[in-house]
Amino acid sequence: MSKQFFIVVILWIVLTAAGEALVIALTPFLLPSRAALEGQIVDDAFRTLMMLAVPVLAFVVAMLIYSVLRFRRRGEPTQDGPAMRSHGPFIAGWMLVSTALTIVMIVHPGITGMNALRAQAGKDVDLVVQVEGSRWNWKITYPQHKVISRTELVLPVDGHIRFEVSSTDVLHAFWIPSFRMKIDAVPGMMTTIYATPSKTGSFSSDHKIRLQCAEACGILHDKMMVPVRVLEQKEFETWLSQQVKVD
């Protein structure tokens, strides 16, 4: 290894260390509040990818910084650089590392994350909530309890919930940012998504606890939102009993 490349490696290590420290320090501020178990899987994947991205970023930036500082010429260069078209070990190393990194990313957090989500989805369902989007409102039905709500989505904490999402007119998307869960509402189709709220909370204290349409659907797309309220099981049952029953 040439001396120059050695300096780059030192620079890379320094940058990587700084970057990883920054990721660890900043992740709590970067990732929003989380209110569902499934969100943990997403956040873990996010963090892993950040950790993996840092060394890649750091290497390219280290090479760029070093090259620009070391090899730049003031004014027009009077000579050509060495006629180096290829460098076997460097290319081989690059291809090996980039392929290996890609495979790592595919396996973890890609496939492992998918499997975790699927395993989570496969658990016994405590509550089914049907969510139907129409321009520009959501109709929320609790078929087991024969309750319909149009103004808010109320959920019990720790209950495993299946959302059955559909649409009457155009594409919409069901998204609760603090749950990290999203699925499109497609006319003529029922899509499902699962979530297990992990703590109580409501839209009034945190805007990320909202059911937001996330697929452009026309004029009031951004207003196609209902507040979400996650209650204790008891309170949820009380809420249900206060609602008008429909058949």
Partner: protein, 612 residues
Amino acid sequence: MAALTGIIKGLIFALIGFIFGGGIGFLLINAAGRSGTNEPVIALGYLFALIGWLFGAGLWDAWGREWVGLPARKLEVNGWKRYFRFCTNHKVIGVQYLVTFVFLFLFAGLLAMLMRTELIAPGQTIMGPNTYNTTMSLHGIIMIAVAVATIMGAFANFFLPILIGAEDVAFPRVNALSFWLLPPVVILLLLTPLFGGFDTGWTAYPPLSVINATGSLFFLMAFITFGISSILGGLNFITTVITQRASGMTWGRLPIFAWGIFTASMISLTATSFVAVGLIQVVLDRVAGTSFFNASQGGNPLLYEHIFWFYSHPAVYIMILPGFGIILEVITHFSRKPLFAYKWVVGSFFFIVFLGFIVWAHHLNTSGMSDYLYIPFMVTTELISIPTGVVFLSALGTMWLGRLWLRPPMLFALGYLFNFLIGGVTGIFNADVPTDIHLHDTYFIVAHFHYTMMGGVIFALMAGIYYWFPKLTGRMYNETLAKVHFWWMFIMFNVTFIPMFWLGINGMNRRVFDYPEALGGVNMFVSIAAFLLGASFLVFLTNMVYSWLRGPVAEANPWRARTLEWQISSPPPEENFPEPPQVVGDPYGYGIPGSVHAVLNPAGSALNTGGG
């Protein structure tokens, strides 16, 4: 007036065509007993108006007359007037493309400024939601067109034939045709606000795009027309590279920019006709009452998403591959070293084309498609980081131990590397299904693709403009202004888009007119940064206009680069090369004593080219 006769004739023919086609549409509506819709009139009227426009603008004189046994008329006029005519010279068409699209770029940039003004604070600021949606959609589609067609249309047209030692492209008349298809596109897009606008964004997902205002039909027809232009361009460049190379210009000596155009053309030739079908299906659903996307009649909106992204993901590489070509070209000449790992780069371009066709469904990660599709598409998508990495390998390897000359093109190329790196790394978060479930359709995506499109393609475009400006115009730009432009644009670009990643993760979905109050502060910051970013283009525009008119006369080869375009005068002579050049060596033979790329005057004295 003589300059405009073609355009005026085209407009008159278009009007006649519209009346004819619209009349047929009107009769069809009556025959089918469908009242209450005028869209068949518009659609058929436009079809014939388009044909009328093309024939009037020059297709008939330059080409159509031959079909009925008459000799074609020469439409060439000299001087500046030729830029307004149906001119088949590839250099004229290149300039036509460049000027048209730089103006479109600035126009769509102004639309972005309007959007950021609206988003500067929660609630309504300057416009209503429908106006906002139309502004947003227009910004989107015009910028997509800019990204697809500026490098391909302008630089590939002007420089590809010269780079390979040809006199012109393979089909000059098709080339002119593909440019003259663009004015109707622009007119249609500018007309959309008068017909209710369109609120679907540039993706035009049905059923929304089937049931919304007539503006959407205008948008769809504009997109299809643009697609035809793009197909013809791709066809032309592939044929040009295969058949028009100068003798001695073997595949292994092809400049990397030519490879970028060649591979990108493979995509625009094929994938574009695929998406045209998807768009036509939406038009048919609107105009003819078919049920492609009407779920109650057996249609399925997911079909459109599949067809659309089968084009639109590869389309990203139509934009990126020429950009790769430009920056690698610039980096090798400004590092004064041979292009590092040339064969690996060419291979990775082809690999990108191949992979580009089998990754589309990662745009459907939250669409509700079949569960078994997620992992295969995640795998193919993430594999793309390998060939993309090769481009970085080549760029870094070329700079290593080089003699770096930090002129404006080189600065933009370096800026490109940094921005595209961020764009690429954040792309992984979108390819990965677990994270994408959260990030899909949020400002994270907006930030990501602006890093690849603006930070990538537009920086490459700027690198290209500053690199080739002396050759295009024969004049030199102001170096200081160019450097001011770079640093201003580079810094404000990053300041604008980095916070958008945070916005997306924290619950701001895209294509919204309004957002939760809590996100107000960051949005105001982004808006102000965006205004400053927009202002950097005033520097650019000043520099371009002033330098084109008054700049110092440029020498033939201000960069002492080795490729063919720098071996002829600035601007190039009408026929490019007085004698067909004889290519005898590598275009990137820097640092090799006595290395020669091409002999320009094989018969006469040995007027060798080459750096040293």
